[in-house]
C-alpha cells in the first residue's frame, strides 16, 4: 500500500462526508453517532481509505452508506464475523462495526460473544434504541419490562439483556456506554475505543424518536451520569465495572466502564501474520514446503 505523506490536520470532516444524506427520521439519535464517529476519525487523522465500516441490517446499519470509508452493508446480525474476516485478512485497516441492538444482541448475539472472547481488534458501536425501528416498532432484546410495542401490546414481560455486563463477562477488553445527545463525550469515547488494541465496545443510547416513547432523549438526559466525573472510579477494576453495569433507574452510568490492555489481540497471536497483513503476502507456497506436504502422503 502506498504510504501517503499527510500534512498536519489534512483530514477534515469533508473527507468522511457520505455520498448521500442519511435517511434516518429527523431527530433520530443516530445522527449524533455519525457525527461523533466522523469527528473521532478527523481528530485521530485516520485517512478514510484505511477505515472499513461494516454493518448488519437495520436503521443504524445504514451507517456505512453515510460515511466515506470502505463500507460494507452485510446481513442482519452478521457484521461481526464479516468484520473479523476483514481484520484477519488486513489488520492494517481500522475496522469499525456499526449496528443496532436487534442486530447485535438479538440475531447476532452469538457472534457478539465470540468476537469479544477472541479480542478481535475492532470497534463495535451499537446504536441502542431499545426497539426495532426499521420493522416499525417491535420489542427488542434491550426493551425494558412493561414497555408497550406492536409485539408487546400489553407490555413486555421479558427482561432485557444487559449489554455492558454481557460484554464484561464475555471478555471484551474495552467496554463503554455513550449517549448520542452528548456528542463531545461520545467523540472522546469513540477515539479512545479506536485507539484501544483489542475488542472495544460502546453501547450507545441512540433513542428512536418514532417508536420508542419511553426511553427518549429527555428521559435519558437527567439520568445519565459520567463515570469520568467520579474521581474514584477505576476503569481497570473489573468488579467495579460489573457493579456499575447493574445500575439502571434514576442514575444510569455512561462513559468508560472497563479497559484492559494486557490481553493480546487475535491478529497478534497469529504467527501467520508475522510477515505482515495476509492480503500483502504471496499466495504461492514455497516448493520445499510443498515437497514436505507431498512426502507425508508417500
Amino acid at each position: 500500500m502506498a504510504t501517503e505523506i499527510l500534512t498536519p490536520n489534512a483530514i477534515t470532516m469533508a473527507n468522511f462526508k457520505g455520498r448521500v444524506e442519511p435517511d434516518w427520521c429527523p431527530g433520530c439519535g443516530d445522527y449524533g453517532v455519525l457525527a461523533a464517529v466522523q469527528k473521532a476519525l478527523v481528530e485521530l487523522q485516520i485517512p478514510q481509505h484505511e477505515v472499513a465500516t461494516i454493518s448488519g441490517i437495520g436503521c443504524s446499519s445504514n451507517f456505512p452508506g453515510f460515511i466515506e470509508t470502505y463500507g460494507m452493508h452485510t446481513l442482519h446480525g452478521r457484521s461481526l464475523p464479516v468484520a473479523t474476516g476483514v481484520k484477519m485478512a488486513n489488520h492494517a485497516l481500522t475496522v469499525l462495526v456499526t449496528g443496532g441492538d436487534g442486530d447485535g444482541f438479538g440475531i447476532g448475539c452469538g457472534h457478539f460473544v465470540h468476537a469479544m472472547r477472541r479480542n478481535v481488534d475492532l470497534t463495535y458501536l451499537v446504536m441502542d434504541n431499545q426497539i426495532y425501528g426499521l420493522t416499525t416498532g417491535q420489542t427488542s432484546p434491550t426493551s425494558r419490562v412493561a414497555m408497550k410495542t406492536k409485539t408487546t401490546p400489553f407490555g413486555n414481560v421479558e427482561r432485557p439483556v444487559n449489554p455492558i455486563a454481557l460484554a464484561l463477562a464475555a471478555g471484551a477488553t474495552y467496554v463503554a456506554r455513550g449517549f448520542s445527545a452528548d456528542q463531545k463525550h461520545l467523540t472522546e469515547l469513540v477515539k479512545n475505543a479506536i485507539a484501544h488494541k483489542g475488542f472495544s465496545f460502546i453501547d450507545i443510547f441512540s433513542p428512536c424518536i418514532t417508536y420508542n416513547h419511553d426511553n427518549t432523549i429527555p428521559w435519558f438526559r437527567p439520568r445519565v451520569k459520567k463515570l469520568e466525573d467520579n474521581p474514584h472510579y477505576d476503569p481497570t477494576n473489573f468488579d467495579a465495572a460489573m457493579d456499575q453495569s447493574q445500575l439502571w433507574g434514576d442514575e444510569i452510568p455512561i462513559g468508560k466502564f472497563f479497559e484492559c490492555t494486557d490481553v493480546p489481540t487475535l491478529h497478534s497471536l497469529e504467527p501467520v501474520l508475522n510477515s505482515g497483513p495476509l492480503v500483502h503476502q504471496s499466495n504461492r507456497i514455497p516448493d520445499n514446503i510443498v515437497k514436505s506436504f507431498i512426502d507425508e502422503l508417500m
Binding site: Y70, L75, P271
Partner: protein, 591 residues
C-alpha cells in the same frame, strides 16, 4: 478384468482399525500399486462396528467393490458379519484366543493366530493388530523389510523400545504365517511407480492451498472436518489463516469478509452446516464478493446419518438462498479431482465475483486413493479476475458495480486511496448506493439484476462441456455426477466383459449446465440410465428441468453405503431385459 486384491479390517471403534489401514496403504503405494480405500463407520467414538476396505492392484483402482480376499476381524462381531462373504481363495486372519469363526465357504483358508503365545498381551493391547499385519504381508508375498521401515516411521516419535517391540511382534506374525498358512495364489506385484495416498478432504485442502487460499474458516462437521484438520495442521507452513468459528453462519461471513479484504477464502461443511450458510451465499452473490464453499454430503435430512454417504444435497445447492443470482457448482469426480478442481473453481469465482460450491460427498471426502504425485500441482494458473490495484493518479469516480457487457465490475481491495466505496447486500446502484430503501428505482434494479445474471454466460463459456467416455455407440449409456465416476467406470468395464457395450457420461460442472452438449450426446444413445446416490433422482430431475430430457431408467441407492460395480451391472441387465426402470440395489453386508 483388472487384477486386484482387497483387505477388510474390522472391529469396534477404538480397537485400532485405522493404523493397520495406514500401514497397508503405505506398503502398497510404495510397491507402486494403486489403491482405493473406504472406511464404513458409525457415529461413535468407542464401540460399534468399523470396517475398512483397502483394494490394491497394479492398475488404477476406481472403487472398492465389497469383495474381500483377506479378512482381518479384530472382534467376533466382525467375523460374524463378514466371514460368510469370503469366497474360495480368500483367507481370514484372526486372534485364536478371542474369535471363533463360524462357517465359511469352501476354499476359504482360516488362519488362527495364537496371539497370547506370540505376544505379551498384558502389556500390548493392540498386539493382535501388529501380528496380523505381519502375517498378512507374509501371505501376500511381501518381503518383511517394507513393513519394518513403515513401522519405524509410524512409531518414530516414540522410544526405540516401542519401535523394537512392534517390529519384533510383526516379525513373529510374519514368521508364524510363513510356517503355518498357505500364501495367496496371487503374490502382490510391484511396479516402478510411486504414489501418494490422499483423502478427498486432504486433496480439497491441498487444492485450496495450491489455488492460493489464505483464509480458511470452518465449524467441525462430519464428513468435512478432515479439510479443517489438514488446514489447521499445515496452516503455519502454508501461511494460511485458519479459524474455527462458532457456527457455519459465522464461518461463511468470516470467509466473505476475508475475501472482501483481498484474499482467497474457503470454507467446508456438510448439508446441515450448509443450510446455515445459505444466506451468506446470497450475500456473496449480491455484494459480488467471491467465496468457495465445499459441501461434503452425508445422508440426510437433518442430522441424518452423519457417517454415511449420499448425493442428496444437489437441490439444496440449486436452491440455496433466495432470489436469482449467479453461482457455480461443481462435483469432483474422484479424489485426485478433489485437488484439481479447487484452482479451477477459484479462478471462476474470482473472475466472476460470485459464490462457488464444491459438491463432494463422504465417499470421496473420507476415502483414500493413490495419486501420481505429479498430479498434485502447486503451480496452477491463478486468475484473480479484474482488479484495480494501484490508484494511478486521477481517475473517474469509481463505480464498484459498474454495468458492463460481461456483468463483471473491476474490484478494488480496501486500503487503496481514492477508491472508497460501499458494498452492499441491499440492492444498490453502480456506485454501491442503496436503492432498496428511500431510493427504490425499478430501472436501476432491473439493470443491476441483468448485470449480475450476465455473468452466467461468461461462466458457461469458461467451463468445458461434459465428454462421453467409452465407445460412441453402446447398448447402454450410464449418466452419473461427481463421486459415482469410479464405480460407473468399472461397471462399464464389467458390462463390456459380459458382452454388453456401455459408455459413461460423467457430469462434473453442474451449474451452469451444458444442456445442449448433453442433449447432443444423449440424443444418439440407445438406452440411457442415470445413476445416483439418492432417493428422488435429484440429478435426473435437474437434467429434466434444464433440458426436458427423460432417461430410460434410473439406478439409485440411499442406504448410506456407496454403489459397488456389481450393483450397477445387475441393474443394467435387469433394465435392458425390461424388468424395471428403477433399480435400488441392496447392500450385501451390514456395515
Amino acid at each position: 478384468m483388472r487384477h486386484s486384491f482387497s483387505i477388510g479390517i474390522g472391529g469396534a471403534a477404538g480397537q485400532g482399525v485405522a493404523t493397520p489401514g495406514d500401514i497397508f496403504a503405505k506398503i502398497f503405494s510404495r510397491r507402486g500399486l494403486h489403491l482405493n480405500a473406504y472406511n464404513a463407520y458409525q457415529s461413535i467414538i468407542r464401540g460399534g462396528h468399523t470396517f475398512l476396505t483397502i483394494r490394491t492392484g497394479p492398475d488404477k483402482i476406481p472403487t472398492t467393490d465389497g469383495r474381500i480376499d483377506l479378512l482381518i476381524p479384530l472382534n467376533q462381531d466382525t467375523a460374524d458379519r463378514h466371514l460368510r462373504l469370503l469366497s474360495a481363495g480368500g483367507a481370514c486372519l484372526y486372534n485364536a484366543d478371542l474369535i471363533h469363526p463360524g462357517t465359511s465357504a469352501d476354499g476359504v483358508q482360516l488362519c488362527p493366530l495364537p496371539v497370547s503365545k506370540l505376544a505379551d498381551i498384558s502389556r500390548n493391547k493392540v498386539a493382535q493388530n501388529t501380528l496380523a499385519i505381519g502375517a498378512a504381508l507374509s501371505m501376500m508375498g511381501v518381503g518383511f523389510a517394507a513393513l519394518e521401515s513403515v513401522l519405524e516411521e509410524q512409531f518414530r516419535k516414540k522410544a526405540q523400545a516401542v519401535i523394537d517391540e512392534n517390529v519384533s511382534l510383526a516379525r513373529a506374525g510374519y514368521d508364524y504365517a510363513t510356517q503355518n498358512f498357505k500364501p495367496f495364489a496371487w503374490p502382490l506385484p510391484s511396479t516402478e511407480a510411486r504414489y501418494a495416498v490422499l483423502s478427498g478432504n486432504g486433496a480439497m485442502a491441498m487444492g485450496g492451498a495450491a489455488a492460493g487460499v489464505k483464509f480458511y474458516s470452518a465449524y467441525p462437521m462430519s464428513p468435512a472436518t478432515g479439510v479443517l484438520h489438514w488446514m489447521a495442521e499445515h496452516a503455519r507452513e502454508a501461511e494460511i489463516m485458519v479459524r474455527q468459528v462458532e457456527d457455519e453462519i459465522g464461518v461463511i461471513n468470516m470467509a466473505i469478509g476475508a475475501s472482501h479484504a483481498g484474499v482467497r477464502a474457503m470454507c467446508a461443511t456438510s448439508g446441515g452446516g450448509f443450510a446455515l450458510m445459505s444466506e451468506g451465499l446470497g450475500l456473496s452473490a449480491q455484494a459480488e464478493i467471491p467465496v468457495v464453499v465445499i459441501d461434503c454430503q452425508r445422508a440426510g435430512p437433518s442430522t441424518g446419518v452423519p457417517t454415511k454417504t449420499e448425493q442428496g444435497d444437489l437441490w439444496q445447492m440449486l436452491g440455496a438462498a433466495f432470489g436469482d443470482y449467479p453461482r457455480v457448482i461443481a462435483a469432483p469426480l474422484d479424489i485426485a479431482d478433489c485437488f484439481k478442481l479447487m484452482p479451477e473453481i477459484f479462478n471462476i469465482t474470482d473472475r466472476f465475483q460470485c459464490p462457488g460450491i464444491v459438491l463432494c460427498d463422504l465417499l470421496l471426502a473420507e476415502g483414500r486413493l493413490s495419486v501420481d504425485p505429479a498430479e498434485i500441482d502447486f503451480h496452477p494458473t491463478v486468475d484473480r479476475g479484474e482488479m484495480i490495484t494501484s490508484n494511478g493518479g486521477e481517475h473517474a469516480p469509481y463505480l464498484r458495480y459498474k454495468i458492463t457487457d460481461s456483468g463483471v465490475s473491476p474490484r478494488v481491495i480496501p486500503g487503496l486511496p481514492g477508491y472508497t466505496h460501499v458494498v452492499s447486500s441491499d440492492e444498490h446502484d453502480e456506485d454501491g448506493i442503496l436503492i432498496s430503501d428511500a431510493y427504490t428505482n425499478h430501472a436501476k434494479r432491473r439493470a443491476m439484476m441483468e448485470k449480475r445474471m450476465r455473468k452466467m454466460e461468461g461462466i458457461a463459456a469458461s467451463i468445458p462441456p461434459p465428454q462421453l467416455i467409452g465407445p460412441a455407440a453402446a447398448d447402454v449409456t450410464l449418466i452419473g455426477w461427481g463421486s459415482t465416476f469410479g464405480v460407473i467406470d468399472e461397471a462399464c468395464e464389467l458390462l463390456r466383459e459380459q458382452g454388453i457395450s456401455a459408455n459413461h457420461l460423467p457430469i462434473r460442472w453442474l451449474v451452469p449446465l451444458h444442456g445442449e452438449a448433453i442433449l447432443d450426446i444423449l440424443r444418439n444413445a440407445r438406452h440411457t440410465i442415470i445413476v445416483e446416490n439418492n432417493f428422488s433422482g435429484q440429478f435426473a430431475r435437474y437434467l429434466r428441468s434444464e433440458t426436458s430430457f427423460v432417461p430410460n431408467g434410473h439406478i439409485r441407492k440411499y442406504d448410506g453405503e456407496p454403489f459397488f460395480p456389481q450393483h450397477i451391472v445387475q441393474a443394467v441387465k435387469d433394465q435392458l431385459a425390461g424388468k424395471t426402470t428403477l433399480s435400488i440395489p441392496a447392500h450385501e453386508v451390514m456395515v
